[in-house]
């Protein structure tokens, strides 16, 4: 078998410097997606006319088409439609595409989270004199967020791996650097294996952080012995 372990471990430090790019794309996209998804889910839950239908179409489109197609449409297609996007960088296009894509998944997750908080609590808040926005902020959203965290975490893991698609439009992130090393040295398996190990490490670390956090915030919902 022709597999150079030494080489694989040697390139890992160099690849690790590109983890920053991968994390930057993933985290920036996630933050924007969460903001979009909060608005979408509130539109869905409150069935706001017109916006509700538009939100459903948006969600259906971004969940129903491949993220790679969305990425190509935004990077190559948008400048053709709107000249102001001519100067869009590959990095910005990637973040934009992933934000839109992930927000569609998160909107449904947040909607389910909001609906999992029984209506009675909102009613009780109103009867104590709180307004709906006040009830939303301090009573409903914290509980909805807690219910939505496991599924949101899964979506983030998917996003973390999908950032590798950005290499197709020329962003030099983790996978792109791996491919560069692979073709330069012809150690294909070693280079891609090193890339895979780094993704695996990242997702494992994230999963560990999430389960720690879930335990921490579920204190209020576990019966004391």
């Amino acid at each position: 078998m022709n597999f150079d372990f030494k080489y694989m471990f040697e390139i890992i430090p160099e690849l690790l410097t590109y983890v920053a790019v991968t994390l930057y794309i993933a985290i920036a996209s996630m933050i924007i997606a969460v903001i979009i998804a909060i608005f979408l889910s509130l539109i869905l839950v409150n069935r706001i006319p017109v916006l509700h239908q538009l939100a459903l179409i948006y969600i259906s489109f971004f969940r129903g088409t491949p993220p790679l197609v969305q990425l190509l449409m935004i990077y190559f297609g948008l400048p053709q439609l709107l000249p102001s996007f001519n100067s869009i960088t590959a990095m910005t296009a990637a973040i934009l595409a992933f934000s839109l894509n992930v927000s569609a998944y998160l909107a449904e997750i947040f909607r389910a989270g909001l609906e999992s908080v029984d209506k009675g609590q909102a009613e009780a808040a109103l009867t104590t004199g709180m307004t709906y926005p006040q009830a939303l902020r301090s009573i409903i959203l914290p509980q909805a967020a807690r219910n939505a965290i496991p599924a949101t975490g899964n979506t983030f893991l998917g996003l973390l791996k999908n950032t590798s698609l950005a290499f197709t439009i020329g962003v030099t992130e983790l996978l792109a650097q791996g491919k560069l090393l692979a073709t330069a040295t012809l150690h294909f398996f070693e280079a891609y294996m090193a890339v895979a190990l780094i993704y695996w490490g990242l997702t494992a670390l994230y999963s560990w952080l999430q389960s720690w956090y879930e335990k921490k915030i579920s204190k209020a919902y576990v019966r004391e012995v």
């Binding site: 009613e123 808040a125 109103l126 709180m130």
Partner: protein
Amino acid sequence: MIKVSNLKKSYKNNPVLKDISFHVDEGEVVAIIGPSGSGKSTLLRCLNFLEKPNEGHIEIGGVSVDTTKAAKKEIHQLRLQTSMVFQHYNLFKNLTALKNVAHPLRVTKKLDKKKAEEIGRRLLEQVGLSNKADHYPISLSGGQQQRVGIARALAVNPNAILFDEPTSSLDPEWVGEVLRVISGIADKDKTMIIVTHEMNFAREVADRVIFMDDGLIVEQGTPEEVFDYPANDRTKKFLRDYQRQITGKTDNKNEKFAIV
């Protein structure tokens, strides 16, 4: 204190409240009884616009609302006049017992944390739950949760408290402690409307009893009038059925419903 005139409410084409008018004086305790589906809970929930009435006038503590054209601000003003105790407690599950009581005060009355929690602790003591202040709802029994619910309703110091079947979802063993707490408040001259299936309790605590059936107020009067000398056939039938259910027999001789 509370004045309701010609209140109507229907779901789709199904009328639930047909034409309700009544009033409650300051400090008065009114019990609303009647069969399931008679509209009792809907009536209560119309008073704070948890259900939007179709027609009619509601006046509580100086705030008067024409329900056909109530603006958001008017509805909010009306809600500030009352608070509610729910059948399913509806405690805020992300907050401790103390914060359930204190948090609304911080939000609606802009009290600082110390002042709000001081009031919270005093009210938890009043309902006998000082030692549970830092417990979350999930680790409280039904009876304890409902007592926190009562403390929360008291905290905002409303003109009137509305009780929507406060003991209906409690295990029998917890009913007594909750009823005792409610009686304690009734003795303090709070204006209260209580929708209940506990006839003994209604007789004991209420100044006036309203019997509802099929979306209408059929009969009202003092507990003695309604329970001992009901005038309407529907009231008689309801009380007879209730007594049969409780004791397994009726007192046919004098048609009195002295429930023991």
